[in-house]
Amino acid sequence: MTTTQIRQSSSPPRVWWRYAVWAARLLPAAAIATLLPSAVAFLSGDPGAAAVLAKQANDALGATAVFTLAGTLAVGPVGTVTGWRWQLILGRDLGLWTFCLAMLDLFIAAVTAPAAWLDGIAGTAFLAAGAAATLVMVPLAVTSNRLSMHLLGRFWKILHKMVYLVLGLVVVHLLLLIGPGALGPLVVLFGPSLALRVPAVRRAVLRGRKARNVPAC
């Protein structure tokens, strides 16, 4: 098998991968689009619209933010297993989507709170954990660009390890909100990515890939 054939077999077909990547980059916007009718009703002062918007925001934005966070954490491990590099561009996009969706969820929780806005984002322990997970992402979102990478050098990676703190707070948020039933889906969503980030596991996977002679692309 020639290098070109190996490369073609381990890369997604060039014809459609750009469209797939762009679709994946824009997909989280659908969560915001689903809220538009409720948001319009809320802004036009419909009675009861605030509760509907708060519930929908919690369901659509919160759930999508968890999925985009899982995607962000999966981008690296996918490269470890497959040798692909084309998906790396999605890491920053999905991370920024996580931040934007979570911030919008937080904003809607604040403006639709029945009492004070602070009660809407930190009135209970589960809300406070969600707000903390969102706000701890601010420095990560602000530094998700090449200039910050250049300015911070090797400390950029150290700073961005705060994503594990975000994940921990999200887990606390969901466990308090849903209960122990959330643990299974969380393990399925985040378990493989986290396991593949353990250096010993990562080295074993890379050794296995090297033994099968699948090059990076």
Partner: protein, 47 residues
């Protein structure tokens, strides 16, 4: 070009900002209303 010390300080400052932002809502809420009003269960939880 920033020195290593400046980069480290910048990263530490950003981490501190993140921590403060994360802790602020809960801290203000607890300071305002106290622990007694702070429940674990969400208000719309039927359980």
């Amino acid at each position: 070009m920033l020195t290593i010390r400046a980069r480290r300080a910048l990263a530490a400052a950003l981490i501190a900002v993140g921590m403060l932002l994360a802790a602020a809502p809960a801290a203000v809420e607890l300071h305002t209303h106290g622990w007694d009003s702070w429940t674990v269960a969400p208000p719309f939880d039927d359980n």
